[in-house]
Symmetry: C2
């Protein structure tokens, strides 16, 4: 009686939730590598093995799809909630180095999606809301300083700058031997600490 039991072979079944998920997944991968404007709905539909029309039907349009990609992955917020100010530098440094569990890499990927499409007017609105509510807010709260807001901005600036450099500008001094990566992590931790204490 369950939804997807009959015929485990490749023959497509008619499952609305499954195709919706397929579209969402394909869109996520595309938006991770190209900007909002560059990605066409036909590209996404092709990757998902689905007709283009279904996207507009299921998500109300391109903008709705993009919003859902971001909202679906925001989960419990872009930062791990139980986190003290003292732990912050080490946590962010690991985020930058992309060293860590799958979940942590996932969070960094969301930053990339936002960065890639931030310049697009339509995608920009969605992104700005998310940044303010789910990143800047929690960050400032964790810091709890009197200059918390400014410090949060500085941390985010570093994080985003590295993201831009690595993925968009393709300046990658971070790819290297494990020893190099460890050194990078150390220096970035210092940088984050400086942003918090100076």
């Amino acid at each position: 009686m369950s939804r997807t039991t009959t015929i485990p072979t490749g023959i497509k079944k008619r499952d609305a939730i499954a195709t919706r998920a397929a579209i969402l997944s394909a869109a996520r991968q595309r938006f991770l590598r190209e900007s909002y404007d560059s990605v066409g709905l036909r590209d996404i539909a092709g990757d998902a093995g689905v007709d283009v029309a279904l996207i507009s039907r299921y998500f109300g349009g391109k903008e709705g799809l993009f919003r859902d990609v971001l909202l679906h992955d925001k989960d419990e917020g872009l930062l791990r909630q139980p986190l003290t100010a003292a732990e912050l530098p080490a946590y962010l440094a690991q985020l930058v180095i992309e060293d860590g569990d799958e979940d942590r890499q996932h969070r960094m990927e969301m930053f990339i999606v936002m960065l890639r499409s931030a310049s697009s007017p339509k995608a920009g609105e969605v992104i700005r809301d998310l940044v303010h509510l789910d990143v800047l807010g929690p960050l400032a709260e964790i810091i709890g300083d009197e200059h918390a807001e400014l410090r949060a901005n500085m941390l985010l600036a570093i994080l985003m700058g590295i993201g831009v450099l690595r993925t968009i500008m393709k300046v990658d001094a971070l790819d290297g031997s494990p020893a190099q990566r460890a050194e990078c992590e150390y220096r970035f931790r210092c940088l984050f600490e400086a942003a918090l204490t100076c």
Copy 2:
């Protein structure tokens, strides 16, 4: 006998260099506020008071126009050449605060143009070349450290991150009273120093 002497009134004369300059100026202003993909050639042509066809004719296409906008403004490089490592933090901090002469603001604006359009595939190539040759290279040379390359990346990351935050994400904690701006400048100088010394 000079090129543009007759009739100083508003009646348009046929001056190829003048219209070329008008297009270039209009394009610069547009690319400063919108991304490569968002800006249409008809928008630029409208601003410049010129027919659209002239753009493709004079610059060989949209991509050529964008390249020329960036190359025209690179002047003597994005960084002031005679600059020591010790002066770097203060210089960059002033760049961030947008406090300084017109020339310095102009340099920061070039960063914005690059950031806005970095995600676009076509514009990306142009930008990446420029970043490597005219920013990262000189920066590393000024630093002259054994970890110069990594440090240069860190400095640029901060610079770009702030640019993204301010102009694209529209997170602006930097606009404020002169006292606030001064405090920001101080903190960012500290941050830049940390990137150079830690």
